[in-house]
Subunit: 177 residues, 2 copies
């Protein structure tokens, strides 16, 4: 997820680590902050994998900066990951939002974008609850525990809003394809 986000941000334009940090903080920071000890090793991994290159420049306001630039391999990896996200990217909301944040990078391929959205739709259409009475899913109405009731109500509202948005966006994409 971090890898995807880094590649996604760098696709727009080269950034140095500190800027990247701030972009990441804006995207997912209020939910799940990224520490330096996570970010910098991740950058190094991407570099050794040949997905990005760094060029040192004198720092504007402080220490020298390492400007990070996506390579062709990096760009290809990003687009590939966006075209075929794995199941966790589709089911976990945090990861899914990261995919959505960069899905526009597939801008020449509305059919590929639509295919990704359809995978999410399929996931949302799977009958799945959080709680079961034996094998039977427990609906929000019958939950006696107010907190579990909350989970079900919130999940239902989210799913409804997302289905709505998915359907309208898919219609637009299909139209432009």
């Amino acid at each position: 997820m971090l890898k995807l986000a880094i590649l996604g941000f760098l696709h727009d334009r080269p950034l140095h680590g500190y800027e990247l940090r701030r972009h990441l903080a804006a995207l997912t920071g209020h939910v799940r902050p990224i520490s330096d000890g996570t970010l910098y090793p991740a950058i190094k991994r991407l570099e050794t994998d040949g997905l990005l290159v760094r060029s040192t420049e004198p720092g504007a306001a402080a220490a020298p900066r390492h400007t990070l630039r996506l390579t062709d391999a990096g760009r290809a990896t990003l687009l590939d990951r966006l075209r075929t996200p794995d199941d966790l990217d589709v089911s976990d909301e945090n990861r899914w939002f990261t995919v959505l944040a960069f899905l526009r990078h597939l801008d020449g391929e509305p059919a590929a974008q639509a295919a990704v959205l359809r995978r999410r739709l399929a996931f949302l259409d799977e009958p799945a609850s959080f709680f079961y009475d034996g094998d039977r899913p427990v609906g929000a109405e019958e939950a006696t525990d107010p907190f579990r009731r909350g989970i079900l109500l919130i999940a239902r509202a989210t799913t409804a809003a997302e289905r709505d948005w998915l359907h309208t966006t898919l219609a637009e994409l299909d139209h432009s394809a």
Copy 2:
């Protein structure tokens, strides 16, 4: 999060590992499945920490089962964690739902339950967006990218539903306190 979920399920009644696995699959499995290689070491950690004990029994249909039972320390740890969840438990939706799933275990303490809900409310009231134009947060209406627009729309719907539920539930808790 896994630790919290295990303690939470065992608070209801003793379970063996395989049952626990199925409970966990129902709670978070459709979003984020838990593998054996995660579950069993986690159980072992809880055991060495003295939070649960296991008693081997002949298996009903197969290999012998290890029935897991919460100790007093385990029960205390669970309640403590529910009373004072850390920030990530409050901000990350996956973790927050896990807290909610077991918050009823604080049933004698409506004030403590309300305090936890209020922390979530405070988090939701923080002005936070996913995208910024400089320092200014970008609203769903101005987002030109349809996918980022989706993120903002879905997040807005979720937040609205959750605020609603939090307010009504807090009113009930305050009434019963």
